[in-house]
């Protein structure tokens, strides 16, 4: 079953594919882009507190919730 969620609602260990960036704020978009968080990319949630850490490719990125909230994912099971 596919489920669409926002990154700040994910829990550690989950894997998902980014489907959309839900913001019109250019600064936020540029930050996400520079970290390689763009639609089509697969990411894994490593930590969700105090803020979110995800693995994108071989790099780990820490993000504040307000940035993570803009990322929409499709969960991938397994």
């Amino acid at each position: 079953m596919q489920k669409i969620v926002s990154l700040d609602g994910c829990s550690a260990g989950e894997t998902g594919k980014i489907v959309a960036l839900a913001t019109g704020n250019y600064t936020i978009l540029r930050k996400l882009l520079s970290m390689g968080l763009v639609p089509g990319v697969q990411i894994r949630v490593i930590r969700c507190r105090p803020s979110i850490v995800v693995q994108v490719g071989h790099s780990k990125v820490a993000l504040e919730e307000c940035l993570a909230a803009q990322i929409t994912l499709v969960r991938i099971d397994g």
């Binding site: 540029r30 803020s51 990125v61």
Partner: protein
Amino acid sequence: MLWQRGGISLKAVVLVGNPNVGKSVLFYQLTGNYATVSNYPGTTVEVAHGQASVEGRQVRVYDSPGIYSLLPLSEDEALTKRLLLEKSPSVVVHVVDAKNLPRMLPLTLELQACGFPVILVLNMMDEAKKLGVKIRREELSSRLGIAVVEAAFVHGWGVDVLRREIAKQLNGRLTARPFCRPATMPEQEQQVFIASALQRRRAAEKILEGIYSYGDLRRGAWLDRLTLHPVLGLLFSIAVVYAGFYLLVGRLGAGILVDLFEGVLFAEIIIPWLTVWVAYLPWPSVRELLAGDFGILTMGFRYAFGIIMPMVGTFFFAFAFLEDSGYLPRLAYWADGLLRKIGLNGRAIIPLTLGFGCGTMAVVATRTLESKRERIAATFLLALAIPCSAQLGLLLAMLSATPFLLLVWCLVVFSVFIIAGSLLNILLPGKRAAFFMELPPLRMPKPGAILQKTLARMRWYFMEVVPVFIFISILLWLLAGTGLLGSLVAALVPLVGMLGLPPEVSLIFLYGFFRRDYGAAGLFLLYRSESLSGEQMLVAAVALTLFLPCLAQLTMMVRERGVPVAAAIIFLVTMTAFAAAFLLRLALALPVW
């Protein structure tokens, strides 16, 4: 050949790339000039340049702060962009971390689109290979239409191949004339920029199709996971601070080594010996200048080499270890919550911890902060509540004999930090920027690299400190000779008296005005002579910690923030320092103790 004033104009080779990919390592390999290398994004905050020879030809190489795109997000990124536009480079070497090629290749495309002659360097191939990343270099090169070089600069691999490629580029086509976007863009253009950035990302994925594979994504070192674990991570931080700073700097540096250098070498050997020789000089005032109370040798050199050098040395060593391990970005992650409360974000942890090494370097590092309000707030807090290594070491040595005093000192300084930060957060206009940061892999620091960095920083520190110390000695000698010193000190005595401190301390505050570490060294000797009570020492330590930073840091504050902001900071810092010390004195006098 073009001749200019000052010599031949050399062709420019600019090293660019994302933060923390190895540009500064490469800069050292090419030019032999040391540039600070650390395992966190945002190490380089100033452009450095040096000469290199490629296939018998001299070129000028520029190292630049890391960038994510040609549209800067912070001040240091803007410097790189300006460098690219101003120098019309003959070669732009784009360094990437090979294992993260899909994320970094869009910048290559952006540089190419702007018309720069680019060479792509896939650095960190050693790590990429271990993770099973596979890249078909030749195919990549032909798809991009530029030279692609594989490298692992920390091991020296790939430097020669890169040199050959640079030479080829120089002999080949003419320098391209780049065209680029202006530094700030109106809304609409931002939209266009983002759209084209997404396009470049897709183009990069297309280029990499079939020639790049990720390898093992799950492999992560256990230490990496440990430092991100909430409880274990905290324990680990405490262990790091205890071992690195308390044991190494506090005990070894400020304790054992200072005893050895100051207590034995200076007090028992050098000074008695000097006194004998100086006594032969026929001019009493020169005798006084060299070996008197404020003598260049008996005070300036003694403070610099007997007291400050052992501490600063051990501190820089411990700090280099911390920087190279890649732990600082994780600390930034943990500190983010706290820093948010005072209007900063986790990113500020890097300038703030650098401040424990040297405030002057730290003020420059505030460039990596996104907004002006954050840069001002960080500069203020650095000036107020972050003691530099020399000061910290001395205070640790004085206070650690009574752990209670040390605890109170920490609490007072920390509270001042939080209160001042919160007030600034309310007063300064604008909003805090959202936290995002790459967490680089933890790496085992290389002893050679740590030693090199420690020595480079010590050399730099002493080049700066020794002339100032000599100058202070001469100035004090002049003031003492003309009797002005007495009146200056006398003017400070009532203030010092309000803090419940003996008159001798006013002289120390006067030193502290020139350099905080110098003041701390004076206080340290006063402590040794046992002329201060515990409470007095505590009050003096708090006042001196919060008091004005040294002249070098002040100069840097003026350079980075401008005169009005720097003046406002100086005024507020002085007031806060005095008020906090006064309140502490009153609190200590309460009958509850």
